[in-house]
């Protein structure tokens, strides 16, 4: 028995991706009124775009079976996880936040959240030298505090636990 071969695996996956987004958007906009072409409702554009995106996904899927194309790339999880984790932690701690199940994160301000981003994301690279990263994190945080807080005067909490702002 001959297994059907996919000529362009990357496009095949891309097609599935588009179909998933299209269907997701269709579901998310299901409660919105379409209106008529003459008097469009809020749902008219999102729904038609969602259908079109999914439609192009189907088209991509079909062509990927016939026309040769690139193979699927491997995903590098290490970079993905630590880079996004770093940014996520910054978001959760810069002003503090309430997590589910009654946990809370303190508002640690730029002074601590800054190095946190640099250090957590540094796990993403195998070339990281820790001494260097620590020094650099401290330097960058001080630089950012100087630029954003003092020179530009943006209202970023610096260290609420220490300075009160």
């Amino acid at each position: 028995m001959i297994r059907p071969r996919i000529a362009a695996p990357q496009d095949f996956a891309g097609g599935l991706f588009l179909i998933a987004i299209g269907l997701g958007a269709l579901w998310a906009s299901s409660g919105l009124g379409m209106g008529t072409l003459r008097a469009m409702g809020p749902g008219m554009l999102p729904k038609s775009l969602a259908v079109m995106v999914a439609g192009l996904g189907v088209l991509l899927l079909i062509t990927s079976l016939r026309v040769e194309g690139p193979a699927l790339d491997r995903w590098s999880l290490r970079g993905l996880i630590f880079v996004l984790l770093g940014a996520g932690l910054f978001a959760l701690t810069i002003r503090g936040s309430d997590l589910p199940f009654g946990f809370t994160l303190p508002a640690i301000g730029l002074i601590a959240a800054g190095p946190l981003v640099a250090i957590v994301s540094a796990f993403a690279s195998p070339e990281t030298k820790w001494g260097e990263v620590l020094l650099f994190a401290a330097f960058m945080t001080a630089l950012c505090a100087g630029i954003f807080k003092y020179a530009l005067g943006l209202p970023i909490p610096l260290a609420p636990w220490l300075l009160g702002y």
Partner: protein, 331 residues
């Protein structure tokens, strides 16, 4: 570079001071750290401008910087809800306005705050009268003709507004309800700028909005003013008759901006803030800045906490039914 270094110096002084006082901070009298005043709209808009002008002088009286934070979203209701839920320590305030406090309850069925019971009023900072304007070549030349034309041609006329919940939206819903053409064609724009642009360009027929935005165009003859919704004519627009003169005395409405704190604000903190606001509005420079905008400075009685509460209660009552009947919803 003077501006930078001044700011840096202020910052450095602040850091030094707060490092030294961190331990004693709790015991000190209010205010002992910067106060955040939220503006639930984008920087540069009418609410933001008034907040910045007033807070600049209030900071001097209070001896602490008032930092303006612009966090826009859902017609300003997200940020207003956030302030309603904040600790009543006087360090979180909001520059509220007609939309967030008087119109929101009718427009947002799931509103997370009660504009009266969830806030401690400080006072009104500025009142902006509403004027009805049409495009330059609109067939009507005064308010009587305008009302007659609207009633006679309800499917020909297009009204512009600055988005659901905006002052331009709310005040026109009221006007249309009072004239008796509530379903008149309304075209939504993203903000007053684009709406005004299409009015000047003649793409739409009329709108209602704050004088602040419209005065220059009226004076230049780019648009026509039908009437102003105040008891007396305004000094900046002496030739524009009031709605009462034009035969529509029931149309009395003004935009306003006022400072609120969360509910349960201690009396002494409220008093300090009220005092700072009064001093700011009595200061000739600040007063002139606000007046130049076309803003009417509220008198002592109007701007007191009780006065603002009265204005709020009146607007809530007037706007509720027309807004609910308009069918517009925010969620």
């Amino acid at each position: 570079m003077t501006t930078l270094s001044r700011r840096t110096m202020l910052g450095a002084v602040a850091v030094a001071a707060s490092l030294g006082l961190a331990g004693a901070a709790q015991a000190q009298a209010y205010p002992n750290k910067p106060i955040t005043m939220f503006v639930a709209f984008a920087a540069g808009g009418p609410t933001d401008v008034i907040a910045r002008i007033v807070s600049e002088h209030m900071s001097k009286t209070l001896g602490q910087q008032i930092v303006i934070e612009n966090v826009a979203g859902a017609g300003g209701t997200t940020t207003t809800a956030r302030v309603a839920a904040a600790a009543p320590d006087g360090y979180t305030l909001i520059m509220g306005q007609m939309g967030t406090h008087a119109a929101a309850p009718a427009l947002y069925p799931n509103l997370k705050y009660n504009p009266i019971t969830d806030f401690t009023p400080i006072g009104i900072a500025g009142i902006t009268p509403i004027v009805i304007v049409t495009k330059k070549d609109f067939p009507a030349n005064n308010l009587r003709e305008f009302v007659a034309y609207l009633k006679a041609n309800p499917d020909k006329v297009n009204q512009a507004h600055a988005g659901v919940g905006s002052t331009a939206f709310t005040t026109c819903v009221l006007l249309k309800a009072q004239i008796g053409v509530p379903k008149l064609n309304a075209v939504a724009y993203r903000g007053t700028g684009p709406a005004l642009n299409d009015l000047v360009g003649g793409q739409v027929d009329f709108m209602c909005d704050q004088v602040t935005n419209l005065t220059p165009q009226i004076l230049a003859g780019n648009i026509k003013a039908m009437g102003i919704a105040t008891p007396a004519r305004l000094p900046v627009l002496p030739n524009v008759p009031t709605t009462a003169e034009g035969g529509l005395p029931e149309y009395q409405i003004s935009g306003w901006n006022g400072i609120f704190g969360p509910k349960g604000l201690p009396k002494d903190i409220q008093d300090k803030l009220v005092d700072a606001l009064n001093k700011a509005l009595e200061d000739p420079t600040t007063n002139k800045r606000l007046a130049d905008l076309g803003t009417v400075i509220p008198n002592a009685q109007e701007r007191a906490p009780a006065g603002m509460a009265a204005v709020l209660a009146r607007d809530l009552a007037v706007l509720d039914k027309p807004l609910r009947d308009s069918g517009a919803v925010g969620q």
